[in-house]
Amino acid sequence: MFHLSRKDQVKLAIFALVVVTMPIWLAPLGAAYPGLMQKFAIYAIFAIGFNILFGLTGYLSFGHAAFLGVGSYTAVWSFKLLSMDILPALLFAVLVAGLFALVIGFFSLRRTGIYFSILTLAFAQMCYSLAYSVLTPITNGETGLLLARDDPRVIDAALGAGTVGGAGLPSPALLGNSVTGYFGFYICAALLILTFYISQKIFASPFGLALRGIKSNQTRMIYTGFNIRPYMLAAFVISGMFAGLAGGLLAVTDPIAGAERMRWTESGNIVLMTILGGVGTLIGPVIGAWVIKYFENIFSAINKNMLNATFDFLPDGMQNIAVTVLSKFVGEGWHLTLGLLFVLIVVFLPGGLVEGYLKLVARLRRGRGTKPEAGGK
């Protein structure tokens, strides 16, 4: 049950170490603050879940943000109605997102390829549009679902438990400990390691093999006696639940749920993260998520002042040039850097960061080995 292959054990150990030591190695990168590290962990969970669907079965969902959003709304409602404890919030987030995934997956999985992608996109966009407008009583529309002091919180009330957070708004807590800041990060990190482990298990299992079979050759799968519908649906629901967990964690670390989380651009983001890191690899999607979040949060925050300070050592003219050129790529220009990064990575590292890296290493190794002199270009 808990067995992992030798290689996977090592991977898991390294991964756990990397995640837990984030506050250390992210510090020189300017990203070692709880808010961002929580996001790193949460989006990595989201990406891992997405990869179980996309990486293993090849079905590209363009509506996964819907499950993230549903997870968030559920968690906030759990805070509002039941308790400020994060356990029920996360549990319900996962379950409700799974339920949504079941329904959306049931219909969308009737189609394959691009038709499937557009179906998921359409479902998610409907969720988004409705959440933004008609469903405002449930979602609080544009401004997002927020906690209020006079929320019922029946479980807390029944237990007479005082909520964490003093006279102000209550804040989410794990068994009475507020989950803000670093504690919040470590909760996310622990769940990230757990999801990584589960994904390792799935990758190595006969279930994972069946999913890969579906990606590789559906005809063969069918005539080999597999009923691919339930396999696909299971993969879809599992990945929806991971997304729900990520959404729940977003609400746990920052109790607000907005419709924007469900927009197609967010679904697109997770697709990009996964591809950037490497579809179908275990660690790729995690790295992709980190890279994009890093750009979004750190590159966008660099402004001319900071550049000026950095290039202070240069002579004035050079400093101006350096700052002018670089300022096109940071701050309001961070998108440009991201776009270029996407292009350069696919061009030079086919298969995403992880695959590309492995290929590169292999090529360098081979370069030293024997090979008849290549006449071509």
């Binding site: 090979k371 008849p372 002199e373 290549a374 006449g375 071509g376 270009k377």
Partner: protein, 245 residues
């Protein structure tokens, strides 16, 4: 872009391979094949599964894979190794691939029309239908729904619809009923009679050797035998070792 630099003058032979090495990505498959074919000759290229026959044929036809990393391919003094597949085809090299490659979503007739879009037409379509009445019957059926034998006919027909200087037949008899094998054999003989140079890859060595003037045997990407068809038929040891006949 796997054209190799010219290292020597064009050979006198009608068609020649000179020390061709080809790769699928990292894997080294065709390992230095050299051979010559005279005009109007039929050459049988034999060998076990995985020996590299198809790879050699594809290298000649300049398909993207395998990539020719070294060596030269010459047809009538033209450096084929510097061409792309479409240029090779326009130069007169027509490959009938082992998996036939009938184009999905197109009818039989469209498949034939398509092969005449680029310059240097061969047989007229009417002429083809005359030779392959089965195709004429099925002309409006989607090509890939044809039965295996019918697809094979279409693939050969498609090659003949273009000007052929060198015909590459990769397992043309595979999956064909004995009668059809006869039929295709007749066609190939007919082609031969018209003086079209042919390289044929075939597991059915007996059938291939019936046609061929000369034969070569490929094993693990290298040539292990070159000689006349008769020589091979007479050499029981070789036949046993490489062809199991």
């Amino acid at each position: 872009m796997n054209a190799a630099p010219v290292t020597g003058p064009a050979p006198d032979a009608f068609f020649a391979l000179r020390d061709v090495h080809a790769y699928y990505g990292e894997s080294y498959i065709v390992q230095g094949v050299s051979l010559e074919v005279r005009k109007g000759e039929v050459l049988a290229l034999l060998g076990r599964n995985g020996a590299g026959k198809t790879s050699t044929m594809r290298a000649i036809a300049r398909a993207d894979e395998p990539a020719v990393m070294r060596g030269e391919i010459w047809l009538e003094g033209q450096p084929v190794h510097q061409m792309k597949s479409w240029q090779a085809s326009q130069a007169g090299i027509q490959l009938v691939p082992e998996d036939r490659r009938i184009i999905p979503g197109m009818t039989v007739e469209e498949n034939l029309i398509l092969s005449q879009v680029a310059p240097n037409k061969g047989w007229e379509i009417a002429q083809i239908y005359e030779h392959f009445p089965r195709l004429a019957e099925r002309r409006n059926q989607e090509g890939i729904t044809l039965s295996g034998g019918e697809q094979q006919m279409l693939a050969v027909a498609r090659a003949l619809a273009r000007e052929v200087k060198l015909l590459l037949l990769d397992e043309p008899y595979e999956g064909l009923a004995p009668v059809i094998v006869r039929e295709i054999e007749h066609i190939v003989q007919d082609i031969k009679a018209r003086g079209i140079t042919t390289i044929i890859v075939e597991q059915n060595a007996v059938a291939a050797l019936r046609l061929a003037d000369r034969a070569v045997i490929l094993d693990s990407g290298e040539l292990v035998f070159t000689g006349s068809a008769q020589e091979l038929l007479d050499n029981a040891d070789l036949r046993n070792r490489y062809l199991a006949i």
